[in-house]
């Protein structure tokens, strides 16, 4: 299925692009609320992705060769802004890993075969991906991971355990980071592997969170056999591949979330008549505006070459702003109000916000990374 191709897209103005996006979203955004977890959330996410793809709105910056639109990142931002404005389903859903981690990683490091096979499936809403990086003893210290893949012929035999794998229970594929050189340590000797979740030997145990839904899971690997051809970026070169993924996550992947955060702040401003909280809300309003300005800057810079660890700063700024917004919301509405919890996966859930400074590397580790890589401060022990 090819996306509908508007003839005017080639040379339409930014304003026209926006207007067209707004119209499409007005007519197509689902009115029913997204299910929070389980098979229903899979079906919902895939259907919504399929509709976007059919409308020509999926993979806006992805390569044309694999069905993407190869548009400038500012168009992508404009789309996200209209997307958030239209209260479209949160991008932080079951499609997130595919669209924002795995897809971009394949674009950057995948072989032609890998790209040709997987990118269209992701874009068209055929598959769900999940992440397999963290381990019980390697939370913030990713380089210490121990799940191992032994090369046997043209296969890897994988044994070990992953944790905090979001949507693993409903995923088709996993981006799996494992130790493939048994003699290696730290960030050497790892490989980034495409793991089909239906491979024999995989057991998934969902983890309920303090926010309620079981979005995360533990994944156990018992002699799971995966072809060597599923390695992305080269055997024992997984750290570099993984860093590419993380830099995407930390950069623009959360753009739509960032923008919907601005919107959330405006809702709170409208709902709040408390003077002291009103001052706090003005700080949040300004900070959300700054976050948008930072994201634009990052996106613009990322078009003219690889960007550094500044993405980590934006990610952390977003995480802490999201927590401050969630906290003010509960101060305004109280614990009994539906405006506070389970607000349809839009990232506004007060409890969910606690994960923002934990998932994808704790805020403390992010601060170390920024201090060392952006500011050039010396490594010390942590």
């Amino acid at each position: 299925m090819m996306p509908e191709m508007m003839p005017e897209m080639m040379d339409e103005s930014p304003d026209d692009f926006r207007a067209r996006a707004r119209r499409w979203l007005r007519d197509n955004v689902p009115t029913e609320h997204p299910p929070v977890d389980g098979p229903e959330s899979r079906a919902y996410a895939l259907a919504w992705q399929q509709r976007q793809f059919a409308g020509g709105w999926a993979g806006l910056t992805w390569p044309r060769a694999y069905g993407g639109r190869e548009l400038p990142v500012l168009q992508q931002i404009a789309w996200f802004e209209e997307y958030a404005r239209a209260h479209a389903p949160s991008t932080h859903n079951a499609l997130f890993v595919g669209m924002n981690h795995a897809g971009p990683t394949l674009i950057a490091c995948g072989s032609d075969e890998q790209k040709a096979f997987h990118l269209p499936k992701i874009m068209q809403g055929d598959v769900i991906w999940c992440q397999g990086f963290s381990e019980p003893n390697s939370g913030s210290d990713l380089a210490s991971l121990r799940t191992r893949g032994e090369v046997q012929g043209d296969e890897l035999v994988i044994n070990g355990q992953k944790i905090w794998s979001s949507y693993a229970d409903i995923a088709d594929y996993q981006e799996l980071l494992i130790r493939t050189d048994p003699a290696s340590s730290r960030h050497h000797g790892l490989s980034w592997v495409i793991c089909p979740m239906d491979a024999p030997g995989i057991t998934v145990r969902p983890i309920k969170t303090m926010a309620g839904p079981a979005k995360f899971a533990e994944v156990f690997y018992d002699n799971v056999r995966i072809p060597l051809a599923n390695i992305v970026g080269g055997l024992n070169n997984g750290w570099k591949t993984a860093m590419a993924t993380l830099s995407f996550e930390r950069g623009t992947a959360s753009l739509a979330l960032q923008i919907s955060l601005s919107q959330r702040v405006e809702e709170l401003i409208a709902a709040c008549d408390d003077v002291a909280l009103g001052e706090t809300l003005m700080d949040l309003r300004a900070d959300a505006a700054a976050l948008r300005a930072m994201s634009y800057q990052f996106a613009i810079k990322s078009e003219s070459g690889p960007v550094g660890s500044e993405g980590s700063m934006i990610r952390l700024y977003f995480a802490e702003l999201a927590q401050r917004v969630a906290r003010v919301a509960i101060d305004i509405f109280g614990i009994a109000a539906p405006e506070v919890l389970a607000v349809h996966g839009l990232g506004y859930d007060y409890f969910d916000a606690y994960s923002e400074t934990i998932a994808g590397g704790t805020a403390e580790i992010q601060r170390n990374i920024i201090a060392e890589r952006v500011l050039g401060l010396p490594r010390g022990s942590r």
Binding site: I207, K208, M210, D274, D331, I335, A336, A363, E364
Partner: protein
């Protein structure tokens, strides 16, 4: 001799008095059942509802210092706010001269739930009320004890979200209180502060233990400065909340001029301590702290419930504003 803080004897007495908590009220119980009403009779039998009422009235005959220490332990164990409701209800009935009602509450015959009303006529938030026969309503107007039936139009909120049954409801228009008083505002503040202090202390302990245990980068995370400083900040919150609670409880027990000021301060300090520590405890526990299996979120959620019963930090600050510090300008 003038007392300012709980004595070693008082601390030891309450330690022994609350020994059953370890077994009966392990916080992890809340992963399975959100209500403590199964333990209601146990609470009554231990005398926990009447610690500061005279023995002649069926109480234990101790004072507010002991009661504050008891409820600090209750906070640590996330004991239902119903126990606080029972204690305050018995006291309200006793002060209003209804000794029989007080006795029934102390016996455990009439389980009590607690509710908060923001303003006269406004709705109430009702906590853990399924089995309650009475409802103690806190409001800016004081403490009022109603028959449970007086709380109507109950809309359950998802119990799993807050790890305790919560309802939004309304006081029936024609409801008459069995008993009501404006005299125990300081007691109310102390018991809330005590439980919040217990939560702050328990989460500090959890955080320190986990920091010693959890290894990352080849060392316990407690050896990293960021975690150390979080723990220190938590410890300072606990120290402030505990000493303020103890100081406030003695002021109330001795009926000092400044007792309402001290009790209101205790609530403001303890509320902030509980919110700070429960959040930092989750962060220190990392992904584990965010999982439902970990106890960390239970403390955070209970802090919110207790803060709601207090009317919110804003209301607690407003209550403090109405008091005069002994160091106020006019004090000299």
């Amino acid at each position: 001799m003038t007392m300012f803080h709980a004595s070693t004897e008082q601390l030891e007495l309450i330690d022994s008095f609350t020994r059953p908590l370890e077994e009966l009220f392990a916080p992890a119980r809340l992963h399975k059942s959100e209500s403590d009403y199964g333990q209601w009779v146990t609470g009554a039998e231990f005398g926990w509802f009447g610690i500061s009422l005279p023995e002649a009235a069926g109480g234990i005959g101790l004072g507010m210092v002991e009661e504050a220490l008891l409820f600090e332990k209750f906070g640590r164990h996330l004991v239902t706010p119903g126990f606080m409701a029972a204690s305050l209800a018995a006291k309200t009935a006793y002060l209003c001269g209804d000794a029989a009602l007080a006795q029934q509450i102390l016996n455990g015959e009439l389980p009590v739930a607690m509710a908060r009303q923001g303003a006269p006529g406004a709705g109430v938030t009702l906590v853990d009320a399924a089995s309650a026969k009475l409802c103690l309503v806190l409001s800016p107007q004081g403490t009022a004890l109603f028959h449970a039936d007086a709380v109507v139009e109950r809309q359950p909120l998802d119990a799993a979200q807050w790890s305790i049954p919560l309802q939004s409801a309304r006081l029936a228009g024609n409801a008459a209180a069995h008993a009501a008083t404006q005299k125990i505002g300081a007691d109310v503040n102390l018991l809330l502060a005590a439980q919040l202090t217990g939560i702050a202390a328990a989460t500090l302990d959890m955080a320190v233990s986990y920091s010693l245990l959890r290894q990352q980068f080849g060392a316990p995370i407690g050896s990293f400065q960021a975690i150390k400083h979080y723990c220190t900040d938590m410890a300072m919150q606990v120290q402030a909340a505990k000493d303020m609670l103890s100081f406030g409880a003695v002021a109330v027990a001795e009926a000092r001029d400044d007792h309402r000021f001290q009790a209101a301060s205790a609530l403001v300090v303890a509320t902030r301590a509980a919110f700070f520590n429960t959040a930092k405890n989750i962060q220190i526990h990392g992904g584990m702290g965010f999982s439902a299996e970990c106890d960390a979120h239970l403390y955070l959620k209970r802090a919110h419930v207790l803060d709601t019963l207090a009317g919110g930090l804003k209301a607690s600050r407003a209550a403090l504003r109405r008091e005069t510090s002994i160091f106020g300008k006019d004090a000299a």
